[in-house]
Amino acid sequence: MGEVIVVTSGKGGVGKTTTTANLGTALAQSGARVCLVDADIGLRNLDVVLGLENRIVYDLVDVVEGFCRLRQALIRDKRLEGLHLLPAAQTKDKTSVTPEQMRELTQELRQEFEFVLIDSPAGIEQGFKNAIAGVDRALIVATPEVASVRDADRIIGLLEAAEIPPAKLIVNRLRPQMVRRGDMMSVEDIIDILAIDLIGVVPEDEQIVVTTNRGEPAALIQGSRAGEAYRNIARRIAGEEVPFMDLDANSGFLDRLRRMFGQA
């Protein structure tokens, strides 16, 4: 039976959809059967990031309302064996699905797939409650900014209250040069404040914009730093121990992280 993992953040625009697309791609690349669920109902996005927008026939709301079977709504990615998308509805809103329905849906999906990744909407209201219903674990995406880390802290509290096992943190859009000159919070600063485990750090990378334009996740591209970071996180999700990347050309950063995780 597969695992259901939510990608969430509280704040919008920090990289949940980008992360879901890339982790799904990287997990499928390593041979896993993966289903990505776009739980951002009314603001469908994951389909375009994956380049699958032209193939949508049915969506998540059609499935829960019984207009079609789950199988009919799943889009199979032609580039990557094993990668599937369950798109969000674009013309409905978050109240058209209940947490109970989401729990049933993910329960059905985990029979078929090794990994079910849920792309959560921003916020802490019904859309968030739907996205976390029935998940086994959570990944929190935060950028090194006050508002993003603050919202992440709130989400961690809500996940605890929902009795979901301790979430893991992905720090996205890190700019090592800015950290070095004292103009951006470091990964250590953030984990120190949030007191949760880190599962990966994704650097700010122009390739994300380029690959998103093309609808081909960066994880498919060799030589993309963000893509490499996502591939590493996917391996950690699958249970492998992968050393943290050296994002800082002048080093120091990696050594500190290693020390922190007892790998030095």
Binding site: V146, R150, D183
Partner: protein
């Protein structure tokens, strides 16, 4: 390595302060549990007015302070910690 007033340091300080308030405010029983526990300890040393007591987290300069205003009626004579 970096100056005390780098924007990174400012971000960290602001974040810590804002999270003190957030965590206390979003946990429904936090302040009332804290109040009950503190009142219990304080009453071992002095007779206090339970009803007039006031506890608040307040931002003061660059940090957050726990401000307690507890009416004291009488100090218990010869009272020392651990002396029941």
């Amino acid at each position: 390595m970096w100056m005390r007033n780098s924007s990174k340091q400012i971000a960290k300080d602001r974040l810590r302060n804002v999270l003190v308030h957030d965590r206390a405010d979003t946990s429904p029983d936090f302040m009332s549990n804290l109040r009950d526990d503190l009142m219990r300890v304080v009453s071992e040393y002095m007779e206090v007015g339970q009803s007039g007591a006031d506890f608040q987290l307040q931002s003061v300069d660059d940090h957050v302070a726990l401000i307690a205003n507890i009416p004291v009626k009488q100090v218990r004579r010869g009272r020392r910690p651990g002396n029941n």
